[in-house]
């Protein structure tokens, strides 16, 4: 999906009589695309609600799946994902353009996940087994898996859910969202070394749990 936007004077255009404003195509995978949308939303331009919708459309899949992989429950993940975008709507004016929009967005995602976990802890811990048995994901929203794949998926899901919160977040952002260690450090507000250590420990922990299962032929 491309966005047809308008550009202001670029550095190559003279201040007095540069080229007239002309439309340009902004690739929606770029930070420029995000910033153009954010600008329209912040300025409350005529089509700002459409700009917000475009932002949601771009990130909804990543946001939902990050949360889903963190908490392991589809319905609750969807609610939290909605909360994330409502937060974006309310707080967009506080977003500093120096940062990447996606970094800011994922920070909200991480905070919402941690808030959820704190709330759950207060209410009383729900085991992942309970969560898995409660969970009903509409079939149309999941990849068709045979029983063997479903079993493997459930095992991995449980192993990930047993990781400490910060290890889980770092691992999900790295492995499923393809974030670099630097981006993860920015999102989580920790050092690069700390990110490396978290991911390394998470993998060690998964290795201890999963390699024996592989050796037994379970996964």
């Amino acid at each position: 999906m491309d966005l047809i936007g308008y550009r202001g004077k670029s550095s190559t255009e003279s201040a007095s009589g540069g080229c007239p404003r002309q439309p340009r195509i902004i690739d929606n995978a770029t930070d420029d695309y995000d910033l153009a949308l954010v600008k329209r939303i912040r300025a409350q331009e005529e089509d700002w609600e459409l700009a917000f919708e475009q932002l949601v459309m771009k990130y909804q899949h990543s946001v939902l799946n990050t949360i889903y992989r963190y908490i392991g429950n589809y319905n609750e993940a969807e609610d939290i994902a909605q909360n994330v975008f409502i937060k974006v709507w309310h707080k967009i004016k506080t977003f500093k353009k120096k940062a990447k929009f996606s970094t800011w967005l994922y920070r909200i995602v991480v905070n919402q996940c941690l808030d959820y976990q704190r709330k759950k802890k207060k209410e009383g811990t729900v085991s992942l087994d309970d969560k898995l048995s409660e969970e009903k994901i509409p079939e149309s929203l999941t990849v068709e898996l045979d029983s063997e794949q479903k079993k493997k998926s459930a095992i991995i899901k449980q192993a990930i859910n047993e990781l400490p919160a910060n290890q889980r977040i770092a691992l999900i952002l790295s492995k499923y969202e393809n974030k670099s260690y630097q981006e993860i450090a920015d999102i989580m507000g920790i050092s690069l070394g700390a990110v490396a250590a978290l991911i390394s420990r998470a993998k060690e922990s998964l290795k201890t749990k999963l390699i024996p299962l592989r050796e037994k032929g379970i996964i």
Partner: protein, 157 residues
């Protein structure tokens, strides 16, 4: 003297190495070490398998109603905010009016109860002299007609 890199040092960086998150020199010395160390090679192989395992946890799709539900929630939020503002503004307005009345009343009371100064008394006397009001000070009690008749009678003398 070149420091000999030990296996525990390599293991610590193995995860980052497999994720392509090490510096060029680190990349070089870890690669070199793996060529000659079977244990670390085995460890690297196990860690690589973790990435394969993780791919079993497949992504879910977003509900086609996600955006419309979000829009609905935002509309509710806006309405709630407007309602909340309305509910907050009315009591604030009443409180402000009450405060204004309190301050105004206090101020008026203070003016009225203030002892008259000498200057005020002189001014009053001067006004009375100029306007002839002092003539009315001796009015006897009674109706206005009686007072007027008395005055006419006195004038007649």
């Amino acid at each position: 003297m070149k420091r000999k890199i030990k296996c525990p040092d390599i293991r610590k960086r193995l995860s980052a190495f497999l994720d392509g998150e090490v510096t060029e020199p680190e990349k070089f010395y870890i690669s070199e070490h793996l060529k000659t160390c079977g244990d670390c090679q085995n460890e690297a192989e196990k860690l690589s398998q973790i990435s394969d395992f993780l791919s079993f946890f497949t992504a879910v799709d977003v509900s086609p109603y996600f955006v419309s539900r979000l829009k609905l929630r935002l509309a509710e939020e806006k309405a709630h905010f407007a309602n909340w503002t309305k509910r907050l503004v009315l009591p604030l307005e009443i409180a402000a009016l009450f405060l204004l009345a309190l301050i105004g009343g206090g101020y008026l009371g203070r003016i009225l109860s203030e002892p008259r100064t000498e200057k005020d008394a002189l001014l009053t006397e001067e006004i009375a002299n100029v306007s002839g009001v002092s003539a009315f000070e001796d009015f006897s009690e009674g109706s206005l007609v009686q007072t007027f008749t008395n005055l006419l009678a006195e004038g007649g003398d």
